[in-house]
Amino acid sequence: MSSNRSLLAIVAGILTLVAVTVVVVLVAGDPKPQEFPPDSAEAAVQGYIGAWNERDIPTAYAFLSERVRASTSLGDYQRAADDFLAYQMPPNGPQRRVSIGDASNDAGHVVVPVTVEELYGDGLNQTVNRSTRFVPMVRDSDGWRIDESLIWLDPTYIDPVK
């Protein structure tokens, strides 16, 4: 193949890639919710994150374990959540998407890996920051619950209001 023909082939290939990617992304639409068995640890984490996405803090609070709820009242949790929502969630914070992995047993504790992707900046400065967090789970009387004091997915010490 002559050098000019190979150059034209590269241009055609990249233009095709751009067109295909645009079409695929537009057709695929937004990410679809993951599907988990209703009584699974993964479903509990999904319910918790879904409640946060809806800004439904009491529902999110209900996904925490009895032990965590005993140490933090709903009022304190709501206050901490309001602070977080003001600065850390879109539209003020970076855009995020979350993927829930399969639960596993880590040294006797059930953990659910949650991968968070955060989109920062724009143009050349745009980066996707990925981090995987392992959410500890416990089976309470009312099903699988998150056994850690979390504000969204950040472990947080919530100072009770005196």
Binding site: L17, V25, D30, K32, R96, P113, G123
Partner: protein
């Protein structure tokens, strides 16, 4: 021995000059504050005076003694004066001192101008973004003292140059200062212009739903305007000086015209210009694509028509001075190459121009392509199994489609003539150091990217096989795979080009006849004599004095 002595003398001169300059700045600052100039914000003047006296008391005598030693070496009556004047250590010393003094002085000038501009604007809170009122006396003192010290060292350098030709490091090291200052000044000027365009845009078309304070706007505007004012002077002053050297009498003009650093300066501006024009144009296209692709959710604000107009206008207006700088420096480089005594200079300039812009275009196209491939993998292989993230893919698409398309366009625009040159004269292009460097730089960058991405993909693969608890899944793999595909393709394409060039060079060398033995020992000499001298007689005398086997041809 002389080098060790010089290292000692100039190192001590430099360190003690620092003591002296700092002491003088403190002294002048106290004096200005006492006179009520610059806000008079200094507390504890006695402590400041004590510090100044101590620094000057230590710095001045030690600097004076060492600098006197350094300068004494240049006394025309001393046997090693020429060696001292053309020494690398002296050139390095003058270069470093001028760079440091210019930088410190420019910072002080910026602070001073910013203070002046802020006087006409709504006053920011004290210590806003590190700003503190009452620093004008310090800035003025720094500017005066560093300006005087810089002027003195410039005069010393000019005196050294006036005494005769300088070659090697003695010539190019101070040239690093001249072109480095010109380049820095130009870059900061253009960047500050872009920032001012942004503030103007934000004023004309306010940002929807933001809470930018007047403090932020005043400070940022004053900062950019002061940078623009100070570095425009710095840039034009140094560029004017470099231009004057080109038309100077004697050896300096020819030395400057042939300087590789001057060529490197042009190439640096072309690279920076191409980079910024592509980046800013991509920003404008991105602003249009975000609403078109319905990616407004992902960027976290509800864009209005004014946001769109502002984003496009600011990006394009900011790109214009970069484009002008790119075009002008490209033109000047070609014009100077055409006027050069060396006929190969024009080919060198053309290659540098084409390859540097192609490199920038390729970098953008490769980054964009890598992201798009990663995005495609993400969508196709399970990245859709997520919670939340509305418009996430569309935002990435809006970002990286412009990079890909504009980068590709620029790369093809420059790579096409490179290919045409290669087809017209394959041997000459294959032998070009510029082309080889271009291919090797791309090969190195793409191989490093490929290896990094491959290592990450294998880490995830082995982790899954060994049951390691590393989470992630396809989300963690899509972008490394995209980078691997794009970098691998770039490496393959340019690696093959490099291989073809190597084969061409080998064939070309094999075709060249062996040089005759006598040519290897051929030397060209220049005979210089008095105006009324008999050069024929001198040549005859030289021929008679030649050892057996030697000839002297005209």
């Amino acid at each position: 021995m002389q080098t060790v002595r010089r290292l000692y003398v100039y190192l001590l001169s430099g360190i003690t000059l620092g003591f002296l300059v700092y002491g003088l700045i403190t002294l002048v600052e106290v004096a200005l504050s006492a006179l009520g100039v610059g806000g008079g914000g200094i507390g504890g003047r006695r402590e400041q005076l004590s510090l100044a006296a101590a620094l000057i008391g230590v710095g001045l005598p030690v600097w004076a003694i060492h600098w006197w030693f350094a300068e004494r070496g240049l006394d025309p009556n001393r046997p090693n004066a020429e060696e001292e004047r053309s020494s690398t250590v002296r050139a390095l010393y003058l270069t470093v001192v001028m760079i440091v003094l210019l930088s410190v002085g420019a910072f002080a000038a910026r602070d001073l101008v910013r203070e002046f501009v802020l006087g006409f604007l709504p006053r920011p809170q004290d210590d806003f973004y590190g700003y503190s009122s009452g620093s004008a006396a310090r800035s003025l003192a720094t500017l005066v003292v560093t300006g005087a010290a810089w002027g003195y060292h410039v005069a010393i350098r000019r005196r050294d140059l006036a005494r005769g030709p300088l070659e090697g490091a003695a010539a190019w090291l101070p040239r690093v200062y001249v072109y480095g200052a010109t380049l820095t000044g130009l870059m900061i000027t253009l960047q500050a212009f872009g920032d001012l365009a942004r503030y103007a845009g934000e004023t004309l078309w306010p940002i929807s739903g933001t809470d930018y304070t007047g403090d932020y706007r005043s400070y940022a505007f004053a900062e950019s305007l002061s940078l623009l004012a100070v570095w425009t002077i710095g840039w034009i002053g140094h560029w004017w000086y470099a231009g004057r050297l080109l038309i100077a009498a004697g050896w300096r003009a020819s030395s400057e015209r042939a300087a590789r650093l001057r060529l490197a300066f042009f190439v640096s501006v072309i690279l920076a210009g191409a980079f910024s024009v592509i980046r800013l144009t991509a920003e404008a296209v991105r602003a249009v694509l975000i609403p078109v692709l319905d990616a407004t959710d992902a960027i976290g604000s509800n864009l209005g028509a004014t946001d769109l107009v502002r984003a496009v206008a600011v990006a394009l207006v900011s790109a214009v001075p970069w484009a002008v700088a790119w075009w002008l420096h490209q033109r000047w480089m070609h014009e100077e190459a055409l006027e050069a005594d060396d006929p190969s200079r024009e080919a060198v300039a053309a290659r540098l121009d084409l390859h540097s812009v192609a490199l920038v275009g390729l970098a953008f196209a490769a980054v964009g392509t890598g992201w798009l491939v990663g995005l495609l993998i993400d969508v196709a292989l399970g990245g859709s199994r997520t919670v939340g993230g509305s418009g996430f893919w569309r935002a990435e698409l809006a970002n990286f489609v412009p990079f890909t398309l504009i980068g590709l366009g620029v790369w093809v625009w420059r790579w096409w003539p490179i290919q045409a040159r290669h087809q017209a004269d394959p041997a000459a292009e294959a032998a070009s150091t510029i082309r080889r460097s271009f291919l090797l730089v791309i090969l190195a960058a793409s191989v490093i990217t490929s290896l990094g991405s491959l290592a990450y993909v294998l880490y995830r693969l082995f982790g899954s096989l060994l049951g390691a608890n590393i989470g992630g899944g396809i989300l963690e793999l899509s972008m490394p795979l995209g980078a691997l595909v794009a970098a691998g393709a770039v490496a393959l394409y340019h690696g093959l080009a490099l291989r073809r060039d190597l084969a061409l060079r080998a064939a070309s060398e094999a075709e060249q006849p062996a040089r005759p033995v006598e040519e290897r020992s051929r030397r060209s000499l220049v005979l210089i004599g008095p105006p009324d001298g008999d050069s024929d007689a001198a040549l005859g005398a030289l021929r008679e004095a030649l050892p057996p086997g030697f000839t002297l041809d005209e």
